[in-house]
Symmetry: C2
Subunit: 358 residues, 2 copies
């Protein structure tokens, strides 16, 4: 994998050099990432990038600076890939920021200049930020009957006490040595993860338990995807019953608009939603624990209603129910029925009845 | 420990019952937690709570609701301590929220009502939230030559690949089976943790490497404290060179005002500051990578200047230097000298010269 990425980066530079040698004006092709080029792929159930490309020219006052910056970043990535080390995008920014010889001009003034160019390179080379050895922030924790090999260590996810394995930002090089699990349960809230971990739910139901701590980080999404692809494990996602929770689910399942070019690698279309739904509020008598939805919640819910990936009648019903009743609920609302209600009643019932939303 | 906490909670209830049996008006004593009762303990170098107490009366219109709520929480805590399970403060809020028989009045309307009462119980009973089995959010990651036993598992912090051990929110029950380290290095930034972990700094220098991801969580602070107390390990803290980074250091070292009652358990007065300082900017030629301090940074720095725990001449110099030059710098600024500069040059030099701030 490292060699492939290194070659792609080399090729990118080589093409520019060839243009110069042929006395052509140097230019590079970058896929368009604006909304107009983001498509919903109905067959694969993923958000994807269309075919539109734009050209970045060196001899264009509006392009020259970005052209130079793109090549600086590509060159930086080639170096760290070849050296087999990783860098955060902030480290990269600092590393590349310097004044250009003989001028007072800086290569970069702020990180907001370098960040989007990383995505340009990702899309242009059809590679991932992780493969360019650029780190995203780590977040997410996992436990279960799984043994992985990572940097020469053998790590048993079932032997981590009350902690868990802190999911690294790059999971490409992890080797699965043993995966003994029937499904993956992803939970949005850290508190819920602690509850289920303490109640040993992953042992009782032989599953892999993953906590995302809000929106799932790229490393966590990649790990879910790999477990789904390589071991055909069903993936069930548990979030709050509100527009934000549901969107967290949809990003795990279908990818996001900001990272549409990477949906193939980050999205897990087979994922199913286990809860919480608005219907749960009535079914489990949680009326005392609901929260009134505010204008922002409702606006966001109306947006979800329009997204093609929520165009299932079950989702349309749930979202409309929320808009109608103007309520939402958190996972913790189940604690009003007892602290172990989530582990002992709610999840077992949902799993038993296979009550999942698409 | 569980028995002690359970007894304290039992005693609290018993005293109220005795007052009732003696036909006294029920009341309880709660330590005052406002600024007026927060002291700087110069001898122990910790922020602490003074002796002032206030009385909460049942037969007082202004107190009755809080009185009822305090007892509800104490009773909840006794239950989970006895059952040996843990709950998040949000779970507790939902669990205790219900309408009072024969009325439309709810026990709690929002979590903002229950949160401060937890601290009341902590201070009144001289116990910790962790001992009441209430979970704080987990954050923080650790690696090093350490083996711990937790919930029956033996966990080797040196065999966790590119990940690390996700520090649980309650570390009271962790047993250290092996601690082979010369010091603890705490780093504020996740990206910095990844860098040092990848460069195997903890192997080279035989240290425990801990990442806090911003302000250190209670579990992380307790873990630092335990390693310092039980193994007499020096603790060095690495943060950004700005008021927020320095405050993160001071909270690890001396405790915080909000948790003054718990400084004894959470603060590590022997901790030393390894960097970044404003002087480092000149010493390591980082001028190109500084950030202009904004008004908020400067205001915060002026506040730090006044805190007794920053009344060391070295700190006064550094803070004044910041105010004078109106600049700050991030750990990542060191990457301008090369990605491995932090691991290969900066930290080794600081450790070698024992260049720490008090």
């Amino acid at each position: 994998m490292r060699e492939t990425t290194s070659k792609k980066l080399y090729q990118m530079g080589k093409e520019i050099v060839e243009q110069i040698n042929e006395e052509k004006k140097p230019s590079m092709k970058i896929p368009v990432r604006s909304l107009s080029n983001i498509k919903w792929d109905e067959t694969n159930k993923l958000l994807t990038l269309g075919d539109k490309k734009s050209k970045r020219h060196f001899f264009n006052v509006g392009h020259a600076r970005k052209f130079m910056q793109t090549l600086l970043i590509a060159s930086f990535c080639k170096d760290i890939v070849d050296e087999n080390i990783h860098a955060s995008i902030r480290d990269m920014y600092y590393n590349l920021k310097h004044s250009i010889g003989g001028s007072k001009e800086n290569t970069f003034e702020e990180q907001a200049e370098s960040d989007p160019l990383i995505v340009d390179i990702e899309t242009a080379l059809q590679t991932l930020r992780e493969q360019l050895h650029l780190l995203a922030d780590r977040k997410g924790v996992v436990v279960g009957n799984v043994v992985v090999e990572d940097r020469g260590d053998s790590i048993n996810w079932s032997k981590l006490g009350s902690g868990g394995w802190s999911i690294p930002s790059v999971v490409e090089d992890i080797k699965f040595e043993k995966v003994d699990a029937d499904f993956v349960l992803v939970i949005e809230k850290n508190a819920g993860f602690e509850r289920l971990h303490e109640d040993k739910l992953w042992k009782k139901y032989n599953c892999i338990l993953m906590g995302t701590g809000g929106q799932a980080a790229r490393g966590t999404r990649r790990l879910i995807k790999r477990l789904s692809d390589e071991y055909k494990l069903p993936v069930y996602v548990l979030t709050d019953s509100d527009s934000y929770g549901w969107y967290i689910y949809s990003v795990i399942k279908s990818g996001s608009m900001a990272l549409a070019h990477a949906s193939d690698e980050l999205g897990t279309p087979s994922a199913r939603f286990i809860g919480l739904t608005i219907s749960d509020i009535k079914d489990y008598k949680l009326e005392k624990s609901v929260i009134r939805a505010n204008d922002r919640d409702l606006k966001r819910a109306k947006e979800l209603l329009e997204y093609p990936w929520f165009h299932h009648k079950e989702w349309q019903q749930e979202i409309k129910l929320m808009l109608d009743k103007k309520i939402k609920a958190e996972i913790e609302a189940l604690s009003s029925k007892g602290l172990k209600f989530l582990s002992d009643t709610y999840l077992p019932e949902k799993l038993e009845r296979k009550e999942f939303l698409p």
